[in-house]
Symmetry: C2
Subunit: 289 residues, 2 copies
């Protein structure tokens, strides 16, 4: 594997969210010749959707994904309806931003109106996820906004996403049909013994249509030890994931999209000079992924 094309680097804005507002991040990408960006809804809302869309367009940034929709499971109908309506707004915003996909963090065990988990029915949660994506697809598909299921690491099964493997995501895509694909995040799936097989399956389009479901590729690294389940992700090269190997599998599957760096790091990268963070992302993307 040679080094990846530096033009393929994209920045998930969570990586510097503690230091910069979204307009700063967009300017930072331009300054560091980073050509892709994946913004979060709260940052977009804070800066104004139209304003952000204009700045991104002016900077000629590719929006590799919009973070995020999902969070489907809930024990009461009102909460499920609220999630449905909010997800439709996310689709609209993703369209305004010309995002390549809306990333779905599908949600974990069903929560009540107060946002607390009040069910242990994991199978039921997975059915709610399937139904929720299916319903959103009826809105997103004709609008032309691809939905990207992001399988999250199993340590988030309870509270963030009960889709935890590529196989499960592929099964959902099989069931739900056109308009839905997968965001592959190295941090979440690197451990999976079926990863290569399921990337190939996603690439080949098991639906028989021959279209690839590989909508996005996120990178960071798994640190040893990991001191926090949420906010102790590593910069590429600082951990144990064989990122060049994973990229070779994505490439082998015909993925030609960007490589989006997404690092939640409360005690390290979120405390550093954000220009240093972006410069490091560039070097490590080239040398360690």
């Amino acid at each position: 594997m040679g080094a990846p094309d530096e033009k393929l680097l994209s920045l998930n804005t969570a990586t510097v969210r503690q230091q910069w507002q979204l307009p700063d991040i967009i300017a930072g990408c331009a300054r560091h010749s980073i050509r892709g960006i994946a913004p979060w809804r709260d940052q977009v809302a804070a800066a104004g959707l139209k304003e952000v869309a204009a700045r991104i367009r002016d900077s000629e940034l590719t929006v590799t994904g919009y973070c995020r929709g999902g969070m489907f499971p809930a024990t009461d109908g009102a909460s499920r309806r609220a999630a449905r309506d909010d997800n439709k707004r996310a689709v609209d915003e993703a369209l305004t931003l010309s995002a390549q996909c809306l990333v779905l963090v599908v949600g974990g065990l069903p929560k009540n109106r107060e946002g607390r988990i009040d069910s242990k029915d994991l199978l039921g949660a997975r059915e709610m996820v399937r139904d929720g994506i299916g319903e959103l697809l009826e809105y997103a598909r004709p609008a032309g906004m691809p939905l990207a299921i992001e399988p999250l690491h199993p340590m988030y099964a309870a509270d963030r996403a009960c889709v935890n493997t590529m196989e499960h995501a592929n099964d959902l895509c099989d069931e739900l049909g056109a308009g839905v694909g997968i965001a592959v995040d190295a941090y979440h799936v690197w451990w999976d013994p079926h990863l290569k097989r399921e990337i190939e399956r996603a690439a080949g389009g098991a639906s028989g249509k021959g279209t690839s479901r590989l909508l996005a590729y996120h990178i960071c690294d798994w640190l040893v030890p990991t001191t926090d389940l949420l906010t102790d992700r590593g910069m590429m090269g600082d951990g144990v994931i064989d990122l060049p190997l994973l990229r070779s599998w994505m490439d082998g599957g015909g993925y030609r999209g960007m490589h989006e760096v997404e690092i939640f790091s409360a005690n390290n990268w979120w405390k550093r000079d954000p220009d240093e963070v972006l410069a490091t992302c560039k070097v490590r993307h080239r040398d360690c992924s």
Copy 2:
């Protein structure tokens, strides 16, 4: 599901390891009418193997597992040979204790002589695990000590065990043949969409011999939020795992062994009066598992 038979409760000694030495734990089990125990090697070494074996025998405790062998992957031959010899000693000790199985935490990515991970070759690590268990089987099988592969949660793939699903453990059992089975720990596998299928597979003996591979069943609970990857496990009932459902799957597979409570809890149960911990284990085993 009715409540489980209280006679099936076993105590993994890690649950009160911060408060009590092993002789205290054995006495505590007798005092609380807990009939099973699963001791750790360091505790046994501290108290003396023969002394421990005699106390356990006198207390008529079933040893539901001996913790633990494994840690096979290493980048240098000397370390692998050291692990091999140490694992043979673990088999010998398990025999002396009349343990029902030797639990294997198989190890993660290969480490060097200093004990630091120095390879990202996860596939290679999994081959080392297969070879290591295969070699240990040649010693354990004729000695009559079953080896129990414990699939660990994927968040331990790097540093503790690169066997992270029941399916992978079943595949290893298929390949390695008689003498090796699986320790099912609810904490590690509850999230797995194939859990029921793979418990059934383990129960039916996919090797065609009709013998069950279900050698042990460990219980605790998954807390939300989980604040530490290692030492924030919950008492049954305090988390989100549907333990009665999992027990019904084990029962449905013909598992008639004990239910071993194993809780690593630095900030809660390890700080409490150990008699309170044991009393709580009894109540929660009855009411929440």
